[in-house]
Symmetry: C2
Subunit: 464 residues, 2 copies
Amino acid sequence: MPIEDSSFKKLQGIVGHTHCSRKKEDLVCYAYDATGHAYMPDAVLFPQNTNEVSRILKTANEDRFFVIPRGSGSGMTGGSLAVNGGVVLVMTRFSRIHHIDKDNLIAHVEPGLVTGSFHRAVEKEGLFYPPDPSSSEFSTLGGNLAECAGGPRALKYGVTRDYVLGVEAVIPTGEIITTGTQTTKGVVGYDLTRLLIGSEGTLGVITRMTLRLLPLPEAIRTMSAVFAQVETAAETVSEIIRRSIIPRTIEFMDNASIRCVENHLKIGLPTEADALLIIEVDGKPPDIDMTIEELKTICISRGANRVDVARSQEEVERLWKARKSISPALFQYGPDKLSEDIVVPRSKIPDMVRMINRLKVETGLMMVSFGHAGDGNIHFNIMLDKKNKGALKKANAALETLFDYTLELGGTISGEHGIGITKTPYMAKEIGPVELMLMKKIKKAFDPNGILNPGKIFKNGFEI
Amino acid sequence: MPIEDSSFKKLQGIVGHTHCSRKKEDLVCYAYDATGHAYMPDAVLFPQNTNEVSRILKTANEDRFFVIPRGSGSGMTGGSLAVNGGVVLVMTRFSRIHHIDKDNLIAHVEPGLVTGSFHRAVEKEGLFYPPDPSSSEFSTLGGNLAECAGGPRALKYGVTRDYVLGVEAVIPTGEIITTGTQTTKGVVGYDLTRLLIGSEGTLGVITRMTLRLLPLPEAIRTMSAVFAQVETAAETVSEIIRRSIIPRTIEFMDNASIRCVENHLKIGLPTEADALLIIEVDGKPPDIDMTIEELKTICISRGANRVDVARSQEEVERLWKARKSISPALFQYGPDKLSEDIVVPRSKIPDMVRMINRLKVETGLMMVSFGHAGDGNIHFNIMLDKKNKGALKKANAALETLFDYTLELGGTISGEHGIGITKTPYMAKEIGPVELMLMKKIKKAFDPNGILNPGKIFKNGFEI
C-alpha cells in the first residue's frame, strides 16, 4: 500500500508542509533502527498534537495506507521500521512534561520525551522514575511504553508496565481513547492500559501518559565484584536473593564484554576476569552501608577474586559507562550482531551459562553475554559477518537451541526488546495457537484494516 | 438459558455425581455474595482440575448455558452472582499450593486458595505476598485476581495486578490458555495476563497462577492518630507523602465507623474523634523507628489530638480488628448498605471529605466513610432500609453526585471492587463509548456466544 499523491496532500493539510516530507534524504533518516535493518518509508510526518494524530490515522484508515509510529528509533527488534512502506509518524515533537504532581506522585507527560530528560526533571523535584533502559539517553518514553522497557533497576522496581497508570492514545480508526486512571487503584472495565503497553505500536499511537513516581532514594551505593568463573558469579546472584537482599541492580558482564569495553574505553577493567558483577543498592545510608557489607561478604564467600565499593561519583560513572558501552562496543567483534534478550528464572542462570559455553565451543562463533543478572535477563549476542553464509547458518541454529533451552528452563525469549520483526520466526515457540489467535482478534478489534504498524509481532499477519 | 436435563447429565459425567447439584438447598448457598443480592443458579458444580473446567466450558459453549465462576462469594459488586441463571462453578477445590520457589521469589498456586492461608504459607518461608483485601481471611486468590483486589498495603506495594506474572485459564470455548511468564520481565505478544486480571470472570476461568513474592519485611511498626477534624486527617495524609515517606498503610476511619465498631467490639476506640488514622511502616528496625518518630511529629504538627504507637502485637491486632470489622459492623445503622469504592488523587481527599459532609447534611442519610487514605481510596457507604423508597431515591441521587465529583477530581468510581452488577449503571460516566466498544470486542473475541458470567460489567450485554 504505497501512499497516493491525494493522500499525501491530505497529510500536508493536517500537519503543514514543513512537518512532512517525501524527499529521499529525509526518508533515509527514518528508515533504520537499532537492529541495523533499513526499510524506506513512503513519507515521514512530524505531528504535534493528538488531534493531528487522530486525523492522520483516520485518513490512513480511509485511504488504506500504513502508519508506523516511531520515537527515537532505538528499538532492538525493528518495531519502528516501515517494513511494508507507509508513513512513518515521528512522535518526537510530543516532548512536553505537562505536570509533575509531587502530592500525588504522578506525572503527565508526552510520549516523545527522552527518558533520561524525564529522569532528570523528576529527580530535580526529589522524585524518581525507576524504568531505565540502557538507551535512556536517547530512547523516548513512548517507545519505552510500546516495548514495556525494563533496564537494570527492574530487579527492585519492576518494569515500565508498573509505572504507567493511564494513557491517551489514538487507535487506528482515528478515534481518541483514554485508558486507566491517575491513581494506583482502578478497576473499571478491562485493562486497556496494560494491553497497549508492550503492544509495540500495533494497537494505538500513544499521545499522552500518566506515570507513577516514587520518592527519590536518599542514597545509592555501588560495588563491583570480579569472578574467575561465570558460573560462580551466577551462583552468587542466587545467593544474594536467597539472603533476602534485593539490590536495585545486579548487572553482569562476561569476559568478552569486559574485553571489548576495555579495548574501547581503556578504563582499567579486569580483562582477565571471566565475569564482572555491578551491584547497586539504594535507601537510607546506615541501612545500605550494612547491606553493602553483607554483599561483600557474600561475594567473597562465593568465590569473588576482588570486590570494590565505588568511593566517588566518578567511580560509579565509570562502572556504568562500561556497562552501557557494551552494546555499541561489540562491533569490534564483527560487522553484524544477532542480539537476543532471553530471560530465565534467576536460579537457572548457571544452567544457561553452561549452555552458552557449550554453544561457543560447538560453533566457534563469537558470543557475548551481559545483562540484568538479578532478573535472569541475559542479553546474548552473536557477532559475525552476515555475508558469511556458513557462519549465519550456524548462528541461527545456535539461536534455535538457545530459545528452546530458555523455554525448557521456564523462561521467555524476550524480556524487554519485544518481538518486532526480528523475533517473529520464534514467537510460536513461546505463544501457543489459541493465545496467538486471541491476540490476532484483539489486533483486529483495534485495527480492522491493518493500517497500523503492519508486519510486526504476527509473522503472517493477523488474519484469522 | 436455563440448563437442559441433557446438558446437566453431561456435567455429571464430567465432575461426578457428588460434585454437582440441582437441589434447592445446595443452590441457595451459592445464590448470594457480599452485596446481599441473591439469584438462584440452575446448578452448582465443584470441578477439581483444569481438564474438568475445560470440558464444562466446552459443553456450555456447545449447549449454550451460562457459567458463573465463583471463589468464596466475598465480592462487593455481584461479580459471582448467577443473575441470568446458569451453572455456578465453585472453584474452592482448586486450593493447592504447587510450589513456593524461594530462589526465584515466585509461587505456583491454584485460584481457590484462601488469600490469608497463602499469606501464612509464604510468611513461614520468610516471604511476603503484599495484596491483602480486608476479606483476606475468606476471599480466594482467584477472586482477588478477577477483581484486581487491593487492600491497605497497596500504598507501598501496589495491587494484585503487580504480583501476578502469569496464569493458566480456560476461555469460554473450553480451550486452555497459558499467559505471561515466570519472570518479572517478559514482552512476547500482548499482555493477556493483565487483560484477565480485573476482568471479573468474564473472559476466562483462572485455574492456576504464578505469583511474585518479596522477602518478608524484617519488622513492622503500627501507630494510630486521632483527629478532631476529618479534613485535618486528610491533609496529614498528603503531608506524609510530600515528606517522601511511603508507609505500607495509611488507613482511615471516620466518626461513624469508629462509633459503630466500638459499639460492636468495645475495645476503647475514641468515639468522640472525627477521624482515626492507622499508619504502618515496615523495613529494618533502626530505620523504621526513625520513620515512626517522623510520622508522630507530622501528625501532631498537623493537628492530631493524640498519637499512639502500638507497643505489643495485641495492640496491633486490636487496631486491625477495628479496621477490618467496619464493613460487617455497619449493619447496626440500617438493614441495607450501598457500598462504594471511589478513589481520588490523594491530595483531593480533603475536597472529597467536604463533599461527603455536604451530602450528609443535605440528605440526612447515614453515611460512613473509611478506607485506604494513602491511596485516595475511600469506601463510602450509605446505610438505609431499601424498602424506604424515599431514602433510596435520595441515596441514589447522592451517589450520582458523588461519582460525578469523583471523576471531576480526576478519580475513578471503583478502586478495587469492580463493576459487577451494582456499578453497571455508572460505568458510562467513566468509560467513553469508544473504549467501551473496544472492551465489548475483546469480550466477543474471548466469548463469542456470551456463555461466561453474563450480565456483568456491560449493562446492556456486549453485542456491538
